[in-house]
């Protein structure tokens, strides 16, 4: 068992629930022991850094300080979310590069009774740990239902392979780690040229046109390579491509239906786990058709029935009688 401290990040509990569920499901089989950092807080995503410097880094560093405190001989913190991973790694790196930043941050942390020595923790991404610590051989040995014939587009997004302060990845723009993992699961991996291109990040919230164009590029490319499904390592990428695909379709008048799931969900399927425990059905662009190609039936997305009308609710005008109703009335009168 390899032990790590886990920094889940806010999205893992909400929008990326499927990621967390599937991570919990696969960590046992591959022998990954994760211990959650107690009472962690938000990393500030890409927003706090644009407001003010010291508070943003103090916010990130509270997590590092808590992790170091809880660190029982475990040096590595694992973050599955790209933005969280980058923010933690960035804070640790910049506090080493610029000692005054570390001093300022520690002054702030001291007010809360905490402190952090930069460099005392290794910040790793989940995919990095799975490939380089757990190893492809272990992963391969757990596969009972290979994803044969499923054409998968490996999509990493930006913030995992870049800026890569500790030089952990094979390449900044075309890293092969995710491809190798998917191949180990038996999938047919397409050579996806946009694998580290941007999904639009927070632009879906502040400049939708910019974001829709970036989303369109990715989906067009995946379709052109005849991918059945895309897979990602990042909650933000999943959210943008999955949840905003409908709005992007309306914007461009297109009809894309490209599902995107987390790589841990595909690992779970290949390990023969129940798709219900892997967060399938939570995606807005259904992955049912793609997964049926490997003979896996994923749960139906929840549909909600229209609410029954309450008699006690506000009086509403009754709908006008139709021609048929009128004819009936005439008949009755006769």
């Amino acid at each position: 068992m390899s032990k790590y401290l886990l920094y889940p990040g806010c999205s893992m509990e909400t929008s990326a629930r499927a990621y967390y569920d599937s991570l919990k499901a696969i960590s046992g089989p591959v022998g990954l022991e994760l211990e959650e950092i107690e009472d962690w807080n938000c990393c500030g995503a890409t927003e706090y850094l644009g407001i003010s410097l010291t508070p943003a880094y103090a916010l990130i560093s509270r997590n590092l300080a808590l992790a170091a405190q809880q660190n029982h001989g475990k040096r590595a913190v694992v973050a599955p979310c790209s933005a969280c991973y980058l923010n933690l790694a960035k804070a640790d790196y910049y506090m080493r590069e610029q000692p005054t930043l570390a001093t300022h941050v520690n002054q702030a942390l001291a007010a809360g009774g905490l402190s952090y020595t930069p460099g005392s923790l290794a910040i790793r991404h989940l995919l990095d740990v799975l490939i380089y610590d757990i190893g492809l051989d272990t992963i391969k040995s757990k596969v009972v239902r290979p994803l044969t014939g499923l054409r998968v587009a490996p999509y990493l997004g930006c913030m995992v392979p870049r800026p890569d302060y500790e030089k952990r990845w094979s390449d900044h723009e075309h890293p092969v780690e995710l491809d190798l993992l998917l191949k180990a699961l038996g999938a047919e991996v397409i050579d996806f040229p946009l694998k580290t291109h941007c999904c639009g990040g927070h632009m879906t919230q502040i400049g939708p046109e910019t974001a829709f164009e970036l989303i369109r590029r990715l989906i067009v490319s995946a379709e052109a390579h005849e991918a059945d499904i895309m897979t990602t390592v990042c909650p933000m990428c999943q959210m943008n491509l999955d949840a905003y695909q409908g709005e992007a379709n309306r914007y461009f008048g297109s009809a894309f239906k490209m599902p995107i799931v987390f790589f841990t969900q595909l690992m779970g399927v290949a390990f023969g786990l129940d798709p219900k425990d892997l967060g399938f059905g939570l995606e807005l662009t259904s992955a049912r058709k793609a997964m049926s190609r490997v003979g896996v039936e994923t749960p139906e997305p929840p549909t909600s029935a229209p609410r029954p009308r309450k008699d006690s609710s506000l009086p509403m005008p009754k709908p006008l009688p139709t021609k048929a109703d009128l004819a009936e009335k005439v008949e009755a009168a006769k």
């Binding site: 706090y48 644009g50 300022h104 702030a108 007010a111 502040i206 939708p208």
Partner: protein
């Protein structure tokens, strides 16, 4: 200098030399334009110093790799290269008014390609902060979004997407709500978005830390 006497520039142009001499005494104000220019040339240092880590902004050789690598450059007022030249030239207002930092998607393509290892994405964060501080931006959508996000985090210690989305969309994209509705509904029915925020246990500790951090920031700015 002559314009101080109440005459327009055009009138001054046609003044005889003698007339000009006459009004000269009252316009013997301390010379001002040149020192102001020198003051503005500190902008490069200021931006560099306020950036996390060692920004290396001074090392920019204007090669343009950044703009060429940028996925959203088409929507920017200035490419990063132009913006850095403007900063070096001390064009404070124009540089801070530029929409470029707000369009930056933090993809770090330029950062890994820059031959001079300039921390471009972090310089963009610095410029956003400086623009907010100086209230220099044409469109308040992005600054408001960042501020609302930060408000939620400071209040709960976690991000609160439902509160953020409702507050942000009602203010900035009311007309987008109908087309957003299916997505929001889908997120809620799948429980991918919670209508109630989660608060961390150590919220008071976090608030104390952030309060102190803001004090430290104010002293060292």
């Amino acid at each position: 200098m002559l314009s101080h006497s109440g005459r327009t520039r055009l009138e001054c142009f046609f003044l005889k030399k003698e007339d000009a001499m006459e009004i000269a005494p009252e316009s013997q104000a301390p010379p001002s334009p040149i020192p102001k220019l020198i003051e503005d040339l500190t902008l490069l240092d200021e931006v560099s110093n306020r950036t996390a880590g060692v920004s290396r902004l001074e090392m920019c050789i204007q090669c343009g790799t950044c703009g060429g690598s940028c996925p959203s450059a088409a929507d920017m007022d200035h490419t990063p290269r132009m913006l850095f030249a403007m900063i070096r030239a001390g064009m404070r207002k124009d540089a801070l008014m530029s929409n470029t930092p707000w369009i930056c998607v933090s993809c770090y393509h330029c950062v890994v390609r820059c031959p001079q290892n300039v921390h471009i994405a972090d310089v963009m964060y610095t410029l956003k902060g400086m623009a907010i501080e100086a209230k220099l931006y044409r469109d308040s959508t992005a600054p408001d979004f960042s501020q609302t996000f930060v408000d939620m985090v400071e209040e709960y210690g976690r991000s609160f997407e439902f509160g953020l989305a409702t507050r942000h969309y009602l203010k900035h994209f009311p007309l987008r709500l109908p087309s957003m509705a299916p997505m929001g509904f889908g997120m809620l029915t799948r429980q991918r978005m919670s209508m109630t925020p989660r608060r961390i246990k150590g919220i008071d500790q976090l608030k104390t830390i952030l309060k102190k951090a803001k004090e430290v920031e104010a002293v060292h700015e």
